[in-house]
Symmetry: C2
Subunit: 722 residues, 2 copies
């Protein structure tokens, strides 16, 4: 693969793994309450507790030494420049300090303070200065409005929050826009899933380093195997797909919880981290095209990381959605089946071989099938559970074995029952050829480390709740399919002859149609005319029946002003329609400048669809396609994709339309020309790439999709140039 060949990324090492750190805002004040300790002191304490191998310097004009570290008056006074400066100071001082740091040869900074782009005009202008430093001088900044960076293997916690002892090192790099959630997620992973971390980054407002840059750093980092993120907004969305594909290439799952899907939450995100959240559908399309594992809640994020970071489990997974469920509760069997079907998994019947073997092994149970209910009997007879588990592992109808296991640390202890099953699972997992995972019924309650730790060691990841567990396995199946699919990123062909000297505004219909033809999109034979006489000659040329449409830069909804005449069968109809149209438009839109009229042959009978380009505030041009009429009006049945799109990607898009069965041929009707529709989607995606920022919007409505083999044809179009 030649992905990312023309992408260059900044080296984040001075920020992520600095050889030396200067802390501004540490003091000799030693308050005892941990939450009243100055943040600068907390950073020095974190560095020391974690065994930071580099040099720690304090910056404070009042002292020569703070917490056994050499203390300088200011950054310029340090004899040799440091890699990274940590600013634990109020927001007002930050821009000056960073500019002097850059001048003193410092290469990176962590800025904790809030009060930047997420607040008023003053904050925004402060952030502008930070962004300029990053952009113009390559100065690396984590934050502002964040907890900073914690590099676990590099022992470099430039981190504002207390770090508890017993921190669990492991393969997961976590980046969270929110500082609070960064520690919430990390603690849940370590304590409730026994999943270790390689890094925690709370990236805040991303004034310098962006999500995309952190992702790239982690893709290249040898200690990281899984990247997890809580994102409110992307700063370099144009690079997201490139880094996502690089992550797929490096076999590192990138799991993202994207907040800010609704209007209200977009407002919340803007005030929290100054982020533009982007349209939810566009973000979903980008995630899908990039092979990003998209989760919808904190608990799904935690369970997805639990599974995707379990290497032994992943090695045994060969794709597929068929789960085998083993439980001691019939009720839970019912609930898991509901949850599984709800997310798109299958709970298939077991093979006849398995069923007859089970019949022999546990005769009392009657006919056993998937989900396997061990009932109360499996609590009484220790032989039952291992036999049921073995049956699922050996059954060829099953892709993933899921065990409903009460993994809670029970209160009181005498209720403890999960352990003996855990021991049986651990034993079975040792020789299992199939991935095994466990989940508890209810999410919540303390997780018993005596169950959690040995299972994790046996590559059996734990999840909580049937809903999260089934949803995570569905994500796993999708990720596997993405990796296997041939869906290579598409590249847009260069259109040499493309006229880039376009004037701003609505493009005349004829020019728009010529543009479409350059990108392989057929259009209805169309002639621009200025008189009734020209119109009738044109109608004879394109062939009857024809349509007349008024051509005016001031009229967008032509039919509203009498600017459309359909089904004109002969010359005299054309003449009459031409005159009537002019008088009607003059009456309805007296100020509209009329350029003339276009004459079109009526398109053949087919399905009316829409195809267009929209500009997303975050991702730029986005291709959208859907059905005309009621399905769009009522159900917003539209799919989107980020250009450039390959034919396969276009096909995936179209197949996700709820109305897809209409295209495929509903109720015995002939199938439509889906291939040509996909080619048209690819075509407008290339058009969007070629016109770049000049394209404000494009709307082909309708695009007639003819029966299979007969193509598609654009009837009316609106192209706006910036």
């Amino acid at each position: 693969m030649t992905i990312d060949s023309n992408q260059t990324w900044r080296d984040l090492t001075p920020l992520m793994n600095p050889r030396s750190v200067a802390v501004v805002g540490a003091s000799q004040r030693t308050d005892t309450l941990p939450n009243r300790e100055p943040r600068g002191n907390r950073v020095i304490r974190n560095l020391k507790n974690f065994g930071y191998p580099g040099r720690i310097i304090a910056i404070n004009p009042k002292y020569r030494e703070v917490m056994d570290c050499r203390c300088y008056r200011d950054l310029a006074a340090i004899p040799e420049p440091v890699d990274c400066v940590v600013l634990a100071v109020p927001n007002r001082s930050v821009p000056d300090l960073l500019e002097s740091a850059a001048a003193a040869g410092v290469r990176a900074a962590v800025v904790f303070a809030a009060g930047f782009a997420e607040t008023g005009a003053e904050g925004k202008s402060r952030q502008t200065r930070l962004e300029a430093l990053s952009r113009e001088r390559g100065f690396l900044i984590c934050g502002p409005n964040c907890y900073g960076v914690l590099n676990v293997f590099g022992k470099a916690p430039l981190f504002a929050s207390s770090i508890p002892p017993g921190f669990l090192a492991g393969p997961v790099a976590l980046v969270s826009q929110s500082g609070g959630l960064s520690t919430t997620i990390a603690n849940a992973l370590m304590l409730n899933r026994h999943v270790g971390l390689s890094h925690i980054v709370s990236c805040g407002n991303q004034s310098g380093a962006t999500f995309e840059e952190y992702f790239n750093y982690f893709v290249e980092d040898e200690n990281t195997r899984v990247i997890a993120a809580f994102v409110e907004g992307f700063k370099q969305p144009e690079r997201l797909l490139a880094v996502a594909r690089k992550a797929v290439e490096y076999q590192k799952p990138l799991i993202i919880l994207k907040g800010g899907r609704s209007e209200v939450s977009k407002r919340a995100a803007a005030t929290h981290s100054g982020s533009l959240a982007g349209a939810a559908e566009v973000v979903d399309a980008a995630f899908r095209q990039g092979g990003i594992v998209s989760v919808r809640s904190l608990n799904e994020l935690i369970d997805a990381v639990s599974v995707f970071s379990c290497e032994g489990f992943l090695k045994l997974y060969r794709g597929g959605r068929r789960i085998g469920v083993l439980s001691g509760s019939g009720g839970e069997c019912t609930l898991v089946s509901d949850a599984a079907v709800n997310v798109g998994l299958e709970v298939p019947e077991l093979t006849e071989t398995t069923k007859s073997q089970l019949q022999e092994a546990v005769a009392d149970f009657g006919n056993m099938n998937n989900p396997l209910d061990g009932t109360g009997a499996m609590y009484d007879d220790p032989n039952i559970f291992p036999r049921l588990l073995r049956a699922l592992i050996d059954d060829s109808n099953i892709d993933v074995v899921t065990i409903n296991l009460e993994a809670n640390d029970p209160r009181p202890k005498e209720l403890k029952s999960g352990n003996r099953f855990a021991a049986a699972i651990e034993k079975a997992a040792g020789s299992s050829t199939k991935p095994i995972t466990c989940f508890s019924s209810v999410v919540g309650g303390p997780v018993d480390p005596e169950i959690l730790l040995p299972l994790r060691a046996a590559s059996v990841p734990l999840m909580e709740g049937a809903e999260c567990a089934t949803s995570t396995i569905e994500r796993l199946a999708e990720y596997y399919e993405f990796k296997k699919s041939s869906s290579k990123p598409s590249t847009a062909p260069t259109i040499e002859q493309l006229d880039k000297t376009l004037s701003s505004g609505i493009m005349p219909a004829e020019a728009a149609f010529q543009l479409f033809q350059q990108f392989g999109i057929l259009t209805v034979p169309t002639v621009f005319v200025r008189s009734a006489e020209e119109a009738s000659r044109a109608a004879e040329r394109v062939g009857f029946p024809v349509v007349l449409k008024i051509e005016s830069p001031d009229v967008t909804h032509k039919s509203d002003v009498g600017g459309v005449a359909l089904g004109l069968a002969n010359v005299s109809d054309v003449r009459a329609a031409y005159e009537r149209m002019h008088s009607q438009v003059a009456q309805c839109a007296p100020t509209a400048k009329i350029a003339g009229v276009i004459v079109q042959r009526m398109a053949g009978a087919g399905l009316e669809m829409i195809l267009g380009i929209n500009r997303d505030p975050l991702f730029g041009p986005v291709v959208l396609c859907g059905f005309g009429g009621i399905l769009v009006e009522l159900l917003k049945d539209v799919v989107v994709g980020i250009p450039p799109l390959s034919f396969e990607q276009a096909r995936d898009m179209i197949a996700r339309l709820r109305g897809f069965p209409i295209l495929a041929g509903l109720r015995g009707k002939p199938p439509a020309d889906i291939d040509s529709l996909c080619q048209a989607v690819v075509g407008v995606s290339h058009l969007a790439m070629s016109l770049g920022d000049r394209l404000a919007g494009l709307d082909i409505n309708p695009l007639i999709v003819l029966p299979k083999g007969e193509g598609v044809i654009a009837v009316d179009a609106l192209v706006e140039i910036k």
Copy 2:
């Protein structure tokens, strides 16, 4: 209200609160492992530990005494009959034992054993004997295949599972089909929510007492204020709505998690429209019509019970969906907003007054709005959190105050931060005029009793996770609206003149149309004819243009065999069509018996809908209504209701159609006659009640809904009589 006036319910007291209990299956064997202890002994231990005030008798021919209880050889040997017998014996002995118990004057039984209707033919026949005892002799049976009954205030645990010390008594009665889930749910409520229980019933196969009977018992029980249930299937669905309405009348929320949504929906009814309304939708409709709080996961059940059982919280709630969110994490603010909007709640802007007050109080924060992000600052300055909380309580735009609170028992302890906020919440709740609830970000991890208990005492219920919390508040709003609405249960009028001597099979079109007219549903003028001559005279009578349709009990899809001719404008067209139709049908369906032809006036232009009656295997006749054509084919856009339906209920149904905007007048089109459509829905619901079990199915397709004021008209119909 006169609900339930003609409903009589059995008195469950001998089962739920027996004065004496005989235990069959207790022994002098005293194994030490708690899980190897005979279930009979466990029941006696439970009874003694719980301080059961009644008489405990053991039944075992080997002993005179078991666990200090008098032991008899068999039930007949007991001097005076006991209220309830507990059978901790293998399934084979159960039917004989119960029959002898009934003969000995015992009035109720708890049967733990599995191996009845849930297994093969032998088990089913065993259960049949139990059902006969219940039905014919009024013998009350809990189970089989269950854990039994635990009456907390009556101190009567006829319960197979160990009961931990420290059991929390309270207002919640829990009935679960699954034994395992009954204790899982109960433990989660007591330990993670500090919610106490009045009863636990694991009802198993409901061979005797049914969910509906337990619900009725709890509605009348003075110790119970909330009823929670995990249900796989109902045994007396025809009584469910009655008991649900009684629960509403008694102000006792009935909260149900219904499992088996996917399994049950496979049992789709046979007729074409039956496949559109699977059983899950029917259960949903019943729950909606009964004011049952319907939840979708164990965690939603637990959180709903947490809130609905918090009396102080409910007292302050005055309806409404506007939540105010307070958090110390901006990321959580974003996620809560996403979750809230997703379930239908609002996160409104605060009033200008509140905003300016906040501006003064916490000037550094810039513009504050809902959700309120206290940021890291609220951890440092103890004055901030109470001010923000007060602002939400006082703001007139807010209906419910929700606080994102880390309520975990932190590991290690030094991370503990929630407590000081809990103290501030407790204080504010004391004088709050508004309901306050707390929720943690991540579901899972141990809940800190130091936070949980005082907040619960202050009527601040705890929930876990933004998704569950917002979903629960939405349920609360719906329940409140149901209680306030005037939606009285509908009663069907008696149709005196209804011809009940109907013959089985497909009803002739003319008769079906006459039946509709009796229930106020207009039909297109229709005449049945047997010759071309009759057809042309009939056409002149009903008025041109007309439609001809073949009439044959053997042809269901008439157009497939050339049996429909549309738009016939004059007598000669009618004659020609009549002859052509006969020859075509003879060719396409040579064996079909042709009764004749019907002549109909073409219906006016309107929206084509379908309206019908389907038989659900559980709930019997169900009304369904939806759009004809693509919306039904593709999107299954159908709504269902349980007859009889009132006009308001019909309106609620119709308003839930995704295509409802089409009826209301999409894109400037005139609105359709929605009132007449609702009347027709009411009409078929009354028809279903009148025909009762004779009606196998009914399908009006299409029902033309004309513009507002012009009514609806049935064009074609299929009525099948059993």
